[in-house]
Symmetry: C3
Subunit: 351 residues, 3 copies
């Protein structure tokens, strides 16, 4: 539980927010407008949801100045320019107050090699392994069963949740957050053909990850073949994402779940890649490219914008008919062309 | 090895099955019709496979009454109304008799916090971690390297295989089965944009999972942002499935491998989602919706039925021609329309 | 660091390579042509990259005889018939010289059941678990947190990286390499319907994996329902690949990241499956079938060749128009047909 005034106070250094309501209102939880009750704090991120505001039972609502009148007509409100961003910071404050984190120090069951360098303010969870030559910075949290390989580097205040693997020589920046099952630095997929079989190309590069990066559960980033795989500052990867060897992901790019990026692709800054999209290897995406979910990028994209390629879903019977026709599409085009050729051109053709 | 009569006896309480064959026939294994030998028990799930029945060398075959004559003309048979369901129960009986499970008790290498509540009939495997405030019910099996986080709840007779992570505060019902690498309760993917970078929205919700749920290897279910992610009773998820934050999956829905469900999607009961399908966020699927493999659900579906959307595979040269034409399809439609406009309407047009 | 002559010498038994340059040139790293500096060894895999050769600052370049003149005009070179294969072998030599591996023996924190059979030359990492009845062959490396289940078999010189799970009874051949998070032998996805709910079909089969197999991070291979799931010699699977129960993958077939293969599919030898492709169950692919990335195989393929099926990506506005028209495609075909019927056949129609 936190008092409403306490929350506003905590964020006062970063936001010009006005509290129109009782500072001593106890807030027991944060909740969406639809479900929030009297002891809960909610927010209105976009004017299009205004109808939900009027009927919300929330104890207090974070709104923009444009929504101030509507909000106050129903009860307490916090008025601020970017309610969604403000709400994000409230969740962080809430987590700091209510969450728990590992205390500094090494769990008695963990294994830390004598040749590892571990900041005394770092915490190492149960059965975690820190190998020789690894560096673990100040305030780092290494979760239970996580493995920091030989010579790997974990920057200050980064958190590895339970069961994260950072392979030898890989580097992670500061304030990162890596969820369970993440694998950093497995071998890239590289083989030379040799008379019908595959000859391993040892992956001698590494992975370098910037600051403020978050990666979701079971996401994988492979080490480079020769050079390194590079993940820029502020990159956010959702769960089950695959990043191939020598890929470069520009700063503040976000990828939703199940995305696959093949080797040596270069993705710009502030891109967004929708869930399940596939990006082929050796391509470049400019800064500010947005790829729709489940789309397949088969060529470089040089201009920012939104790009899409997926077969629209339909009832199965309709899909079957259209899909069957699609396999004759080129022929249909030829037939259409032929028909056009057989009709004499009109004098005043429509554009 | 089990005697045929012993098997029929074991299932007699649940099925009206007739054994037409020697009760003392030793059964050494269960096998498909094609490969089954004299000491093996097989089944015919569907009349369309009848041709395999005649030539099968199986020691005994489970068939429906309609197949009784055909089955008996070749040898011993078990006649029962639903042979496939009967077979499923035989596999369960077989596993109980031949499989091994961890004995109750805590492996000497496991770490169980003194503040955890552990039923004395539960078993905890090597290097497993049970954190403070966690509850582990009767008959639960926590596999090697599994982590049950702070305050998490594992219902009676649920099995966590090796290396499953259940993050803090998440709840799992009874009789569940979670395969290696499953991650329950990693953070959902939520960020507020802030001048070109992403501000973390802490995920303060949890995951609640019903009874009789099974999840495959490396499948992930994220915790909710504010409310909880909900998985209904009897839900079956295959390997490498991604369930985003605040998703609701209705009871007895099944999803094949590599499916991705984006945040806040609501999926009905008794749905089936084919492998590799993607379901976008904030959508609703009615009860009884079936989505074909690799299809992308981009809008809510309100009627039960089968829905599909995928580009039909073809030899690459044909695909290239049709795909190139597809990018002009809207223009082709306009040209067709124009042609139609230039031909005078016929008196007796075909429908 | 290695001397150039030392490298050529090490591979002399397997390649007829000519060193045109100083044998005592110190090589500090291997690098691509674009970035290689004076102390680095590079290679030209294909004549089409010849323009990069001329401007490369590499200390030495591996080239084919056809490129010999061009290479020598810029500096030292190794001339050999297959530069890419030669380069692959150089990476292996480099890794052997510079990499580190676990020393033989059992890490003091590991748990090896007294009923397990462990070759004295094997190494077992921190917190690894070897269960009763397991066999671990000569030179095997079991990484930290890996689990070798009851009765599982790991052939000589195979490496399990950190956190690999090999479930009970599964068999892996020699010289394999399995990256972190791999799960071998989780249950296949098998259920019999029973009045709106799902009845578990216990998965009584196993997984058998040949020699020289590599699997990427978080890849899963399920155990068979009755028979075994079979992975042939020399198969290479990238990260996050899903192989369903009773699948057969022929020798030397390669699959890129995020591929899903549904149950009982049979894939031939020397196939390649592009990233994100989905192969439906119970299909057969002939030897030498190549499936493009993100394509969906919905029928058996009996002829070798390249097969593709994906919606071409486009700017979103164009995609929207074409996708909308696609849902009317079958109707457009009918309209075209009708138009054709209304024009009298021409005497000399164009082909």
């Amino acid at each position: 539980m936190l008092l409403l005034g306490h929350i506003v106070q905590a964020l006062a250094a970063d936001f010009q927010a006005e509290l129109a309501g009782p500072a001593d209102l106890p807030i027991h939880a944060l909740a969406p407008l639809e479900t929030a009750g009297p002891g809960e704090l909610s927010f209105l991120s976009h004017p299009k949801y205004q109808s939900k505001l009027a009927v919300s039972r929330a104890g207090c609502v974070i709104v923009s100045p444009a929504m101030q009148t509507a909000a106050l007509s129903r009860g307490p409100a916090i008025i601020v320019n970017d309610p969604y961003l403000y709400f994000a910071r409230v969740t962080q404050f809430w987590k700091r107050r209510h969450g728990s984190r590992l205390p500094p120090g090494i769990h008695p069951t963990a294994f830390v090699d004598t040749q590892a360098q571990l900041d005394p303010t770092a915490s190492v969870g149960a059965f975690a392994v820190i190998e020789a030559g690894a560096f673990v910075g100040a305030g780092v949290c290494v979760g239970a069963h996580s493995v920091v390989g030989q010579g790997a580097f974990i920057g200050a205040n980064t958190t590895l949740a339970a069961r994260v693997t950072v392979a030898s020589g890989c580097r992670i920046g500061q304030r990162g957050l890596f969820h369970p099952g993440v694998v950093i630095g497995a071998d890239g997929f590289g083989f030379a053909p040799d008379a019908g079989r595959w000859e391993k190309i040892e992956q001698l590069g590494s992975v370098r990850i910037g600051d403020d990066v978050e990666m979701g559960a079971n996401t994988c980033v492979d080490r480079g073949a020769l050079g390194d795989t590079l993940i820029g500052d502020g990159v956010k990867l959702d769960n089950l994402v695959q990043i191939g060897h020598n890929v470069q992901v520009g700063a503040h790019t976000a990828m939703a779940g199940c995305v696959g990026v093949a080797g040596s692709a270069r993705i710009g800054e502030r891109c967004s890649i929708g869930g399940g999209a596939i990006i082929l290897g050796h391509l470049s995406l400019a800064d500010g490219v947005h790829v729709s979910a489940a789309s397949v990028v088969t060529r470089s994209i040089t201009q920012p914008g939104l790009y899409t390629g997926l077969f629209p879903i339909d009832d199965n019977a309709s899909w079957e008919k259209n899909a069957a026709t699609l396999k004759q599409l080129h022929g249909l085009r030829d037939r259409l062309k032929r028909l056009e050729g057989r009709l004499p051109p009109t004098q005043h053709q429509n554009p």
